[in-house]
Symmetry: C2
Subunit: 150 residues, 2 copies
DNA sequence: CAGATATGCTTGCAGAATCAGATATTGACA
DNA sequence: TGTCAATATCTGATTCTGCAAGCATATCTG
């Protein structure tokens, strides 16, 4: 016969868990990545999206969406990646408003090196998750991602 | 017969999904919360932990752990919450190094109001998740949180 | 009990993200 | 065509966060 306080709402707790799980993992894995490869986690995520895209390039806006940053944030982030030699800016031949961020060979190199390290750390973190668990998690996260984007 | 590039590692993709799902939700729901109640999402999370704790108070360190911030970050955050009148600092009678952050009545009020709004937004976001889905998600996130903390 | 070490919190400084606003280009439509 | 709205990006000011260092208090050890 407990009084249902607003703060005890079930979904608030679930969402809190998501926040906490993400933050802990981000801190631990992101920190390890940077310590072992010198690559900040955000850089890794950005380079990853670029490397996986068809021409190795994305518009600033698309990149902002995928990295969950503002275009402003991406603009400066690309500045730093540019200074490091990991990306370059390319004009769009058909729409002069658009600038592409394109990954360089140097970018692909550090990314590949970092990916190996990151994958190893992830295997340790997810050690007691069997394939079924992972599939379930993937599916749930994907649904969340899509409902949030919509 | 695809060459297995390091960046196509399965866990990297899963983790990428977690990052994206979290970021999208945080942006959308956090933004909505602030727009509709004036309460930044971090403030909400902090007040929530305090309100749920036994005496309505936690040490700065504990709060830092739970909110996934550094003690430094919490120190300043509590400064701001203090200025807003939502928390107060209390000395610990037995250990004078410790400072408690305690939620005030005003803090509980805004928190309750915000919780109602937040819960409504969450119900919309999780509309097509049935109880089984939620339980599964909870369990997986909890395992992740614990492996990360360990 | 004295000295060394550990713990809890706060502050100076610097890095990075956001918001708001400016600029440039494109597309739509009367 | 000329004007107006929409789109894509960048920049200035502000805010928040973390790291490193510092101060005060507590605990351990010989």
């Amino acid at each position: 016969m407990s009084s249902p306080r607003p703060i005890d709402d079930r979904l608030i707790t679930t969402f809190g868990r998501l926040v906490e799980a993400y933050s802990q993992l981000e801190r631990r894995l992101g920190g390890a990545l940077q310590a072992e490869t010198g690559l900040p986690h955000v850089w890794f995520e950005v380079l990853l999206r670029l490397a996986r895209s068809s021409q190795g390039q994305l518009t600033m806006s698309t990149l902002a969406d995928e990295a969950a940053l503002t275009t402003s944030g991406v603009s400066r982030l690309v500045d730093r990646l540019l200074a490091a030699g990991y990306v370059e800016r390319r004009p769009c031949p058909t729409d002069r408003r658009i600038t592409y961020a394109a990954i360089t060979d140097a970018g692909r190199e550090v990314l590949d090196r970092a990916a190996v390290v990151h994958a190893r750390n992830l295997r340790r973190t997810f050690a007691d998750f069997d394939p079924d668990d992972l599939n379930t998690l993937d599916a749930l996260l994907d649904r969340l991602r899509r409902t949030a984007t919509a």
